[in-house]
């Protein structure tokens, strides 16, 4: 019965900016509801039992259900999402159908760089914070289930194919730690000695990740149990800054900061080794300063061609997947950060690094041209499409709000207040390989 989120309470909490007192107030209310839940469950069971015995099934069953959820209606989580509030260590739980905020959860530590993954039942979010914090949140009750600080400094994480393992990539001390998704007990520790980036899940209970300083890709295979089998690929290129596994789980692609091009690893044929993609790209051209490291995870769909941010050049690259041939270099407004495909892969949305981060551009995949340029507001940090892509949510850090746009008309559909919002994560990620 804790599946019932009391929307009224949550909204009340949201009206106020995040403060300690409010958090306490909110938690107290939730604790109260939580305490009631078992009693409500017992009532339902008794009701159902009584009904079976008396034969008047329909009437009483309905009554029992009403008792259970009169105050807090049952709901699913498929249209929910979590928004990181990077400066206040809090997250918002949002509803994409009603374009509303349901609750704020506080006490997540340093979220200046944060990301999250979802449990496969789309009920729990595992938030990876800058300070090494791993926080499991129940998005239905808007409560922290468990929080551990597993390292000094972390960058991201992934959930295993079977949903039972959570892997976290760490900067300090460098390595990957793996936890039981249910309890957050540590399952494995894979020290690397250097910063780990681009951690993603792959089919076969594997995690794939890159080593920033040493220029390597490692595969940790958990298919045999809690002790991983490690496969290491050295000399994959200088300073891989991020990596992704495509939606079909076949390829791992690492972006390189220290040299031109990218590196691909065919997970169907890891024995073939890691191979450079477009090593000649941008050679001899003047590199522009990068005021924000780009991200690669945006293009996790199985669309073709794939689109990736260039590094140090104001371009988006369109590449044919599998052959890794360059299809187009698309000039864009500034240094791209996120290059994100709409779920139907017809549009690609791009945001940019400081100081040009007030702009968003839309690339038409059919013509490989920028078809729209607009300025939603100051400091566009992230974009997230609704599950089927009719709308996109944009976080505007310096405006303290999230704007929602219709992706067909570019009309603004709504806006929601948020404290220094950064990453936006919708629950449909739960069922995507590589997210």
């Amino acid at each position: 019965m804790s599946m019932c989120l009391n929307r009224q309470d949550a909204k009340q909490d949201f009206l106020e900016p995040p403060r300690r007192q409010d958090a306490k107030f909110f938690l107290l209310k939730n604790d109260f509801l939580g305490a009631l839940a078992p009693w409500r469950f017992v009532l339902v069971c008794l009701g159902v039992l009584a009904v079976f015995r008396s034969g008047r099934f329909h009437v009483v069953f309905l009554a029992a259900l009403l008792t259970a959820c009169a105050a807090t209606p049952l709901r699913g989580t498929g249209d929910l999402g979590v928004v990181i509030e990077r400066a206040s260590g809090s997250v918002l739980i949002v509803d994409t159908t009603h374009m509303s905020t349901l609750a704020r959860v506080q006490g997540l530590g340093d979220l200046s760089h944060a990301s999250l993954v979802y449990s496969r039942d789309e009920r729990y979010a595992y938030v990876f914070g800058r300070d090494g914090g791993l926080t499991k949140i129940d998005i239905l009750t808007a409560r922290i289930v468990k929080r551990i600080v597993q390292s000094g400094n972390s960058i991201g994480g992934a959930i295993s194919q079977d949903g039972k393992l959570i892997a976290v990539s760490n900067y300090e001390p460098g390595g990957v730690k793996v936890f039981d998704a249910e309890t957050l007990e540590q399952v494995a520790d894979i020290p690397t000695g250097v910063k780990v980036v681009g951690l993603a899940d792959a089919p076969g209970q594997r995690f794939v990740f890159s080593l920033f300083e040493s220029g390597a890709i490692w595969i940790a295979d958990f298919s045999a149990g809690r002790t991983p089998e490690l496969t290491k690929f050295d000399h994959i290129g200088r300073e891989p800054y991020d990596g992704l596994v495509f939606g079909d789980g076949r390829y791992y692609l690492a972006g390189l900061f220290g040299e031109n091009g990218l590196t691909e690893l065919d997970l169907w044929h890891p024995e073939a080794g890691a191979r450079r993609v477009l090593p000649e790209y941008g050679k001899g051209e003047q590199k522009l300063p990068v005021f924000k490291m780009p991200h690669l995870q945006g293009w996790s769909l199985a669309g073709d061609p794939i689109f990736v941010p260039a590094v140090g050049l104001h371009e988006v690259l369109a590449i044919e997947r599998g052959t890794w041939k360059q299809i187009a270099r698309i000039p864009v407004h500034s240094q791209p950060v996120f290059v994100i495909g709409r779920p139907d892969a017809r549009q690609v949305w791009v945001n940019f690094a400081h100081p040009d981060n007030d702009t968003v551009q839309v690339i038409d995949v059919d013509t490989l041209k920028v078809v729209d340029t607009f300025k939603p507001g100051k400091a566009v940090l992230h974009l997230e499409f609704t599950p089927r892509g009719e709308a996109v949510w944009i976080s505007l850090r310096d405006e303290d709000r999230i704007d929602i746009y219709d992706t067909a008309t570019l009309k603004r559909l709504g806006t929601l207040p948020a404290e220094k919002p950064s990453g936006i994560f919708f629950t449909h990620r739960a069922h995507r390989i590589g997210l």
Binding site: S112, P289, V290
Partner: protein, 120 residues
């Protein structure tokens, strides 16, 4: 006679006081007047930049990320000039970009001061 002694004593006192003030101030290679020359409005912008945009790599609490930690202890022993130059011109071979064009020399020096003081 008495007045001149009093005046000398007073001037000695002032001298002593000014030495004390000078020694208690943090050692800076830039003139303190530079700090004064940055308008309060700009100071707020710089603090915001430091927290949010430097924070993307160095962490909002400056405990480090892709870039190194920038807490006072981490910067101790590194000369101001080196730090100012790193901010303005970046560091070749690393992800640290040059901020010249967005920041003046005085502003970079002011940021170094803030970092050394460990501002929240």
């Amino acid at each position: 006679m008495t007045t001149s002694i009093a005046a000398r004593r007073l001037s000695l006192l002032f001298a002593a006081a000014s030495v004390l003030i000078a020694s208690s101030a943090p050692a800076l290679s830039v003139e303190p007047s530079i700090e004064v020359s940055i308008a309060p409005g700009r100071q707020a912008q710089l603090k915001y930049l430091l927290a949010q945009d430097c924070g993307s790599c160095h962490g909002m609490t400056r405990k480090g990320g892709l870039g190194p930690a920038l807490l006072p202890d981490n910067l101790a022993g590194k000369p101001d000039q080196l730090l100012v130059a790193t901010i303005l011109d970046g560091r070749t071979g690393t992800a640290m970009p040059p901020w010249r064009g967005q920041l003046t020399e005085a502003e970079a020096a002011w940021l170094v001061q803030q970092l050394r003081r460990g501002v929240e």
